[in-house]
C-alpha cells in the first residue's frame, strides 16, 4: 500500500453530496480537496446516444454494477437474507454524478414537523404510538434548515409555485407546505393533458392541486454560481437517463463546470474506497484501490463519507467506525433506523390518447391534502401521509405496452391480448404516492454473514418489512387515488396494495432508501450530530440520505442537498477555524 501526500479534505463519493461539498469548500477556502469516485467520468455527448429505453430503463446501464456489489435482504431477524441479484426496489447509481445523473429531479421540501417528528407525534398522540416506533428529531428547526432549502433550490434551478410565502397561503401552490422565504427560482412547467385532467378532478373534489416542484428547468437558467443551463425539451428520456441537453440538474452539469476551474480540487475516478482508517478518535484518511488494483492510503485532516445511503453505512461498518446497532437490546447506533418509502399506485384508464411519451421526470400535478399531518385524522392508525400525484415522466414504448383494464383478457399473450393492448395503448396513467416511512426498532442495517462483494468484503444486509402502519397509509392514499381517478371519468384498476403485504425487492418503488448512519441530538441514539459530524471522531463527516432519522414523503434529494449545504457551512465556518465537535 502506498501512502500518499496528505491533503486537507478527502471525500468518498463523486455524486451530488460529495461534489456539492467540494464546490463549497474549494470556493470559500484554500483547502485542497480530493474526491474519490469508484465509477467513470460522464460526458453530455454520452447522453444523446443513451436515449435508449432498453439499455437504460430496462437493463439499468447507468446503475451500480450488481455483480461487484449488492445488498442482501431479509424480512426479520428470524429469516436468513438473500442477495438482491437483479434490480430492484431501488437503483443506486455509479460514476461521476452518481444517482444524481439518472434521478427524476423531483424537488419537494419536507414539512417543518418532519424535522422534529418524535416530539410532534408525542405531543399529538402521547403514549398511543405503535410498538417499536423509533422516530427521532433531526436536531435542527425549520427556521434553521429553510435557508439551505432556498440555496439548494437556486443551485439546481427548481421550478414550482409557492403555496406558503412567509406565512401567507397562496392558492395554486402546496398550501400545506412550510413557510418559504422566497418564491421558487423558476416558474412551473407547461402541463401535460393527463396532468391537467388530474388537476381538474382534484380541484372539483375540493383538494389543492399544485405543480410538482422539479429541477428539470422550466426556463433557461443561470444559477448563483454562474452556471447556465437550457430549458427542458420534454423528450421523456429523463428518469434513469442522463439529460442530453443539461436541462435536468445533475452533478455533471451543475457542479462539475465550477469544480473544473478550481485549482484546489481534484477528482480521481475508478477509485474504490475500502476503509476509513482511524485511531484514537481521529480519522486518518481512506484506503482505496485504483482501477489497476493498486492500493493507496490518502491521509487528510477532514475525512468525508459522501456516497449513497447503503454505501455510507457499509463503509462505516467495514471500518468499525461506530458501535453496531443491536435490535434486540436497542443499543448501538450504526445501522439503526433504516427506512424506504411507502409507494402505492392506481392505474386510471381513459378513453383518449395521452401522448405519454412526452414528458419530464418531474412533470406532473400533485395534492398534499393527505400528506404530512394533513387529512390523516380521518383514517385511524395513520400517523403521517403522502403525496398523491399524476406524473408524466415520459413513457417508453416497452414499459408502456400492455396496460389493459383488469378482466379484459384471459391470458397475457396471443391475438386477443395484442388486440386489447393496442386498443388501450397510451390511454392509461398511474396516480401514485410516496408516503412517509416511519423508523422502527426492527428495521436496520448490518453486515451480511454469508455474501461478499468482489473484494471479499461482506455485503450490507437490510432487515426490513412493512407494518400495519404502512398498510393503513396505503389504504388511505389508494382510496383517494381511486376517488380522483373516477372523477377523471376513468376506469380505475385496483391498486397494487400487495406491495405492502411484504417488502418486495423485485418491484421498483423508489431509490429513496435512507438511514443507517443517522443524525440526532445524542450520541446514544445517532451516529452523527446535526452537522453530520461523527460523534466519536470530530474530523469524520458522514453526509447523505444515510443521516435521515426517518423518511419524509416525496423525493429526498433536495433535503439531502439542504443538509449537505448546512454541513458545508459547519465545516467551513466553524470546524476549519476551530477543529472539534460542533455539537
Amino acid at each position: 500500500m502506498q501512502r500518499l501526500k496528505p491533503v486537507d479534505v478527502v471525500i468518498a463519493g463523486g455524486g451530488f453530496v460529495g461534489l456539492t461539498l467540494a464546490k463549497e469548500i474549494t470556493a470559500r477556502t484554500s483547502l485542497s480537496v480530493v474526491v474519490l469516485e469508484r465509477g467513470q467520468p460522464r460526458k453530455l455527448s454520452d447522453y444523446a446516444a443513451g436515449m435508449d429505453e432498453l439499455d437504460y430503463a430496462l437493463r439499468f446501464r447507468m446503475m451500480q454494477n450488481l455483480s461487484e456489489e449488492t445488498a442482501t435482504h431479509r424480512h426479520s431477524t428470524k429469516a436468513s437474507a438473500v442477495p438482491i441479484r437483479q434490480f430492484g426496489s431501488f437503483q443506486p447509481g455509479t460514476g461521476v454524478g452518481g444517482a444524481g445523473e439518472h434521478w427524476g429531479a423531483i424537488s419537494y421540501r419536507f414539512y417543518p414537523e418532519n424535522f422534529r417528528l418524535a416530539s410532534f407525534l408525542r405531543e399529538k398522540h402521547g403514549n398511543r404510538l405503535p410498538e417499536g416506533l423509533a422516530v427521532q428529531d433531526w436536531g435542527f428547526s425549520w427556521d434553521e434548515i429553510e435557508p439551505y432549502y432556498w440555496r439548494a433550490e437556486q443551485l439546481i434551478g427548481v421550478g414550482g409555485r409557492a403555496g406558503n410565502l412567509s406565512g401567507k397561503t397562496i392558492d395554486g401552490g402546496n398550501v400545506f407546505e412550510g413557510p418559504r422565504s422566497h418564491e421558487f427560482p423558476l416558474p412551473p412547467h407547461k402541463m401535460t393533458y393527463a396532468a391537467t385532467l388530474f388537476e381538474k378532478a382534484a380541484r372539483e373534489l375540493g383538494y389543492h392541486p399544485y405543480p410538482v416542484p422539479t429541477a428539470t428547468l422550466s426556463r433557461n437558467y443561470t444559477n448563483p454560481d454562474g452556471v447556465s443551463r437550457a430549458a427542458c425539451a420534454y423528450c421523456g428520456y429523463c428518469t434513469r437517463y442522463g439529460c442530453m441537453i443539461g436541462a435536468k440538474a445533475q452533478p455533471t452539469n451543475v457542479l462539475m463546470p465550477v469544480l473544473a476551474k478550481r485549482k484546489n480540487f481534484s477528482l480521481r475516478t475508478g477509485c474504490s474506497v475500502r476503509r476509513v482508517v482511524h485511531s484514537g478518535g481521529k480519522a486518518e484518511g481512506f484506503t482505496y484501490l485504483d482501477a489497476a488494483g493498486n492500493e493507496f492510503l490518502q491521509p487528510a485532516d477532514i475525512v468525508i463519507v459522501a456516497s449513497w445511503t447503503l454505501n455510507n453505512a457499509r463503509l462505516l461498518m467495514l471500518s468499525k467506525a461506530g458501535e453496531p446497532y443491536d435490535p434486540a437490546t436497542g443499543k448501538g447506533t450504526l445501522g439503526r433506523n433504516l427506512t424506504h418509502q411507502v409507494s402505492q399506485s392506481t392505474r386510471v384508464f381513459l378513453d383518449k390518447p395521452l401522448n405519454l411519451f412526452m414528458g419530464a421526470g418531474g412533470l406532473g400535478m400533485c395534492i398534499s391534502d393527505f400528506d404530512g399531518k394533513e387529512g390523516v385524522d380521518g383514517f385511524p392508525g395513520v400517523l403521517r401521509g403522502g403525496n398523491i400525484r399524476l406524473m408524466t415522466t415520459g413513457e417508453g414504448p416497452i414499459g408502456g405496452f400492455g396496460a389493459i383494464p383488469p378482466g379484459e383478457v384471459e391470458q397475457e399473450w396471443g391475438s386477443a391480448w395484442k388486440k386489447a393492448a393496442l386498443a388501450w395503448h397510451d390511454r392509461s396513467a398511474a396516480i401514485n404516492t410516496e408516503a412517509e416511512h416511519m423508523a422502527y426498532r426492527q428495521n436496520y442495517l448490518d453486515l451480511d454473514p454469508a455474501y461478499t462483494d468482489k473484494y471479499g468484503d461482506p455485503l450490507i444486509r437490510m432487515t426490513l418489512d412493512w407494518t400495519e402502519h404502512e398498510r393503513a397509509q396505503g389504504a388511505m392514499v389508494t382510496k383517494i387515488q381511486a376517488q380522483i381517478g373516477k372523477a377523471m371519468n376513468g376506469r380505475v384498476a385496483p391498486p397494487n396494495s400487495r406491495l405492502l403485504e411484504k417488502y418486495t425487492v423485485t418491484q421498483y418503488q423508489s431509490t429513496h432508501v435512507n438511514g443507517g448512519a443517522i443524525m440526532g441530538t445524542s450520541p446514544e441514539t445517532s451516529v452523527v450530530n446535526p452537522w453530520l459530524q461523527h460523534w466519536k471522531m470530530p474530523n469524520l463527516w458522514v453526509v447523505g440520505g444515510s443521516a435521515f432519522p426517518q423518511n419524509g414523503s416525496g423525493n429526498p434529494t433536495l433535503t439531502i442537498l439542504a443538509i449537505t449545504l448546512r454541513a458545508a457551512d459547519g465545516i467551513i465556518n466553524r470546524y476549519a477555524k476551530h477543529p472539534g465537535g460542533l455539537a
Binding site: 455483480s67 438473500v82 423528450c235 401522448n355
Partner: protein, 224 residues
C-alpha cells in the same frame, strides 16, 4: 471454431411499411412480393438455426401477425433475443451471481444459478418439435409452461424485441413503433407538450442512430 449458424427469412417477411387508415387501422404494405427476391440470411450469435426456428415460432404465438397488424416475426424479435443472449445480459454479467444459491420467498425474486442463456437452452429443448406442429398445438404447449421462468422471459423479450430501438436487432423498420404510434427518441416536444389534448400526436418514427447521425452500439455489443 463453432460453425456459423444463420436464420433464413423470406425477404418480404421482415419489416415492411405500415400506414394508418383514416379510421386508425394499421395496414401493412409489402415492399415487394417474396417471389424473385433472395431470402435474407441473418448470422446468429447464440442460437443454433434449429433453436432460432423454435424461438421464432413461439414469439409468433405470443405476439402474432394478424388482422391487428404485424407481429414478432416481421419485427425480427428472434434476432433481438439472439443478440441479447449472446451479450452481457445473456450471461448475467451485471447481476449478482455469487453462491450460495438458496430458494427464498417470491418477494426476493429470481435466486437461481442458471443464466438467461441456460434457461433458454433448457426451455427450447423442452419445446421439442414446436416449430413443426400446428398453431393450436403450439398455443397448448405454451399454455402448459406459462408459469415458468423461461416463458416469462420469452414473453418479456418478445415485447422488448417488438418495441426497442432497431439498433438492438428487433423492431425491424420500426414496425413496432409504427404499430403503436411511437415517434422514437425525439429530442424536443417543447412545442407539443401542452398541445394535442386528448388527440394523438403522430409522426413517422425515427431511430436513435438517425437522430444522432451515427450508428449506436447496444450494450449487447460490449466485448467481454
Amino acid at each position: 471454431m463453432k460453425r456459423r449458424e444463420f436464420l433464413t427469412l423470406p425477404a418480404a417477411s421482415l419489416g415492411g411499411v405500415l400506414f394508418y387508415t383514416l379510421a386508425g387501422e394499421p395496414v401493412r404494405l409489402e415492399a415487394q412480393s417474396a417471389e424473385g427476391s433472395a431470402p435474407i440470411q441473418v448470422p446468429l450469435r447464440f442460437f443454433t438455426a434449429a433453436e432460432a426456428r423454435v424461438v421464432q415460432a413461439a414469439c409468433d404465438r405470443i405476439f402474432p401477425s394478424d388482422e391487428n397488424g404485424p407481429g414478432a416475426t416481421e419485427a425480427g424479435v428472434v434476432i433481438y433475443i439472439d443478440r441479447q443472449l449472446a451479450g452481457p445480459y445473456g450471461r448475467d454479467k451485471y447481476h449478482y451471481t455469487k453462491a450460495p444459491f438458496v430458494e427464498s420467498v417470491p418477494e426476493h425474486g429470481y435466486q437461481g444459478k442458471e443464466t438467461p442463456r441456460e434457461i433458454y437452452r433448457a426451455g427450447i429443448q423442452k419445446l421439442g418439435n414446436f416449430a413443426d406442429v400446428p398453431a393450436p398445438e403450439r398455443d397448448q404447449r405454451l399454455k402448459a409452461i406459462e408459469k415458468t421462468t423461461f416463458f416469462r422471459m420469452l414473453r418479456q423479450h418478445t415485447i422488448e424485441g417488438m418495441f426497442s430501438d432497431p439498433l438492438h436487432g428487433g423492431n425491424a423498420n420500426m414496425i413496432g413503433w409504427q404499430l403503436i404510434g411511437y415517434p422514437g427518441p425525439v429530442m424536443s416536444y417543447r412545442d407539443q407538450i401542452d398541445q394535442f389534448r386528448g388527440e394523438e400526436f403522430r409522426r413517422k418514427p425515427v431511430s436513435l442512430s438517425q437522430i444522432v447521425g451515427h450508428p449506436v452500439a447496444g450494450w449487447e455489443d460490449e466485448r467481454d
